[in-house]
């Protein structure tokens, strides 16, 4: 009797949740469709009633503006992608989200600042920029990798066999620890990177795209890093060992693979990617604090989920689509709908994308590449 009552009550609860979720789905999709249609109408005929329906002041975008948004979205997104790889790889191998990965990224950005500041002080930054760039990238990779590896050894390895929630919560603790350590060591002030030399930072025009040299550099470096990572994971024995450990640790060890060492390698590679991302972030936004890792970290985590966590290609694709959506959607969808202050809504857009993906394809755009028994 009472069991029956409970089950009908929970069933009613479920129905209500389902209705609510359906409402959100319909609402979001309607908003997007109406927004895009209104935008297209505006482009065709700005005086049309439908185009002016929600936002009489909307002006639409010129081709150059659109290209500009696309480029800034892609460069922002490729940085998210670089960080997202670390989340995704660690999830693939250990099955938990390392929330302290954003801090690894911040350590990379911070290292880059300290090094480039010194280089500027002794004049090398202007004289031989390329050498400085290579050096700061190497240093950032080194310190980020070091942070990630130490983190694994000190915080996560002792918890290897505990339930997954425990390393997850530990990672949040590690994140606070690193933030406060950096705060204590370098103070709370925002630190600014030296200016990039003019020959690199100047606007250039490639295939009708007007692109700032800095963004071009971000795109190139990110693409090269991702290509190297893809090669390592798919075509070398280290990568095969990583994938084997991700699929089945016990069997991997029976194939003669040292599981601990492979996990350290995974953290190290994820850390290296975050280090590269940190340098690019610093060079592009030219400002770094002890909190720099937080928002990009959360966005990168979102990218990893959007792309399908545990899947490397997905992390890159997720980062790029999230970055582009963040940059384009406010003008494309929100502005025609008459939402005020659209350029401030980047973060809202990013997390709406996350909600959409979770509503329509919870496994992410590219599913997850894990053995079925290991899904959680």
């Amino acid at each position: 009797m009472s069991a029956h009552a409970v089950s009908t009550k929970s069933a009613r609860g479920l129905v209500a949740v389902d209705r609510f979720l359906t409402f959100i789905r319909v609402f979001l999709v309607t908003m997007i469709v109406v927004g895009i249609l209104a935008f297209i109408w505006q482009q065709i005929d700005a005086d049309n009633v439908f185009a002016r329906w929600r936002n009489p002041n909307a002006r639409g975008l010129t081709g150059d503006q659109f290209k500009g948004l696309l480029i800034s979205g892609l460069s922002q997104g490729s940085m998210y992608g670089l960080i997202a790889l670390g989340y995704s790889m660690v999830y693939g191998v250990l099955g938990f989200i390392n929330f302290a990965h954003g801090e690894v990224f911040m350590v990379g950005a911070m290292t880059g600042f300290i090094a480039s500041d010194k280089f500027q002080a002794n004049g090398m930054w202007e004289q031989n920029f390329l050498l400085c760039l290579v050096l700061i990238v190497l240093m950032a990779i080194f310190f980020s990798t070091f942070t990630a590896v130490v983190m694994e050894r000190v915080a996560y390895r002792p918890l290897r066999n505990s339930p997954r929630l425990i390393p997850l919560i530990t990672s949040i603790g590690v994140s606070f620890f690193i933030q406060n350590l950096v705060l204590g060591l370098f103070g709370p002030a925002s630190k600014s990177y030296p200016r990039l030399p003019e020959w690199l930072a100047k606007q250039r025009s490639i295939l009708t795209f007007e692109i700032a040299g800095t963004r071009l550099m971000v795109l190139v470096v990110a693409a090269v890093s991702m290509a190297i990572l893809w090669y390592v994971v798919e075509r070398t024995k280290t990568g095969r060992a990583m994938r084997a450990v991700a699929e089945d640790k016990e069997i991997a060890s029976l194939m003669g693979i040292d599981v601990n060492r492979t996990i350290v390698t995974t953290f190290a590679i994820g850390g290296a990617m975050a280090g590269v991302g940190g340098i690019l972030w610093g060079l592009m936004f030219r400002s770094v604090t002890h909190m720099t890792g937080f928002l990009p970290g959360v966005k990168a985590f979102t990218s990893a989920v959007v792309g399908g966590i545990g899947n490397m290609g997905g992390a890159m694709a997720g980062g790029i689509s999230l970055g582009s959506a963040e940059s384009i959607a406010p003008m494309l969808i929100l502005e025609p709908l008459g939402v005020p202050g659209v350029s401030q809504l980047k973060d809202a857009v990013a997390f709406t994308v996350l909600v959409l993906v979770l509503l329509f394809k919870p496994s992410g755009l590219f599913g997850e590449r894990l053995s079925s028994e290991d899904r959680a």
């Binding site: 024995k237 280290t238 994938r243 016990e250 060890s253 029976l254 194939m255 003669g256 693979i257 040292d258």
Partner: protein
């Protein structure tokens, strides 16, 4: 000296003795079958040798050196490979990759070599691939050609079993532990695999320990049969000796009615 020597092996899970006081040896080049009713401790015995389950007591020596307490990866690198009763492949990796990854402990190039694309790295990758193709070729045309680049989950059941054996072979072991290699196969596939087990010894020089329920296979492949029941060996010898041993018949079929009373 025996290749594998096990003395007084005891494994306890909670209050249950999975193995109690097992003595066992395998000589170089032998094929030994381990049989016994369900729950006799056969798989636990394999788990103990391959380092997945630490023994509660007792000694396991491989080539005269103790392997108790070593990590499974080290046991593999010393030359013991195994397969599983419920096939355990890397389902999302391709067939070729499954076999290539198994050579991990036989190769020594580091990541740096890969990043710098050194000659030694390229040569080693080529050798890994060639060896993988050679091992897969042992099973005829089934695992080679276009199939090599398919993911392992796309394989048929029997081919998964074959791939698992190929993967164990690729670790370049001296001793191969096969856990029910023909389980779930049809009679034709079983006969074929029985022949392959013989060839694993003659052509590849492996010493083989096999757990099997199919008595026809046991009869055809083994030099020696060891019967386990409740974690202790109750008989050993040739197939004919063991199959007529009253203790063995009792373990499998129960005691005759008049003897029980």
């Amino acid at each position: 000296m025996s290749l594998l020597e096990i003395r007084d092996l005891k494994i306890t899970f909670g209050g249950l003795d999975a193995l109690s006081g097992l003595n066992f040896h395998v000589d170089e080049g032998e094929i030994v079958s381990v049989i016994g009713p369900n729950g006799a401790g056969k798989t636990t015995f394999f788990n103990a040798i391959s380092g997945l389950v630490p023994p509660t007591e007792g000694e396991i020596e491989f080539e005269g050196e103790s392997i108790v307490g070593l990590d499974p990866s080290i046991v593999t690198s010393l030359g013991i490979a195994r397969t599983f009763q419920n096939v355990r492949l890397f389902p999302n990796m391709t067939i070729l990759e499954n076999v290539m990854v198994a050579q991990h402990c036989r190769t020594n190039q580091l990541l740096v070599g890969a990043l710098l694309q050194t000659k030694a790295f390229k040569k080693e990758e080529r050798e890994i691939r060639e060896r993988a193709e050679e091992v897969l070729g042992f099973f005829g045309h089934r695992l080679v050609g276009y199939r090599m680049d398919q993911p392992a989950f796309a394989l048929s059941y029997a081919n998964r079993r074959r791939l698992e054996i190929a993967r164990a072979m690729a670790t370049q072991p001296r001793m191969l532990l096969l856990d029910e290699p023909v389980a779930g196969m049809n009679p034709i596939e079983t006969a074929e695999l029985t022949e392959l087990i013989g060839r694993l010894r003659t052509e590849w020089g492996f010493t083989i320990v096999v757990i099997e329920h199919d008595m026809k296979v046991v009869r055809d492949v083994s030099d020696r049969v060891v019967v386990l029941d409740h974690g202790v060996p109750i008989a050993q010898g040739s197939y004919d000796e063991v199959s007529t041993d009253p203790n063995v018949i009792e373990a499998y079929l129960g005691r005759p009615v008049e003897a029980a009373s």
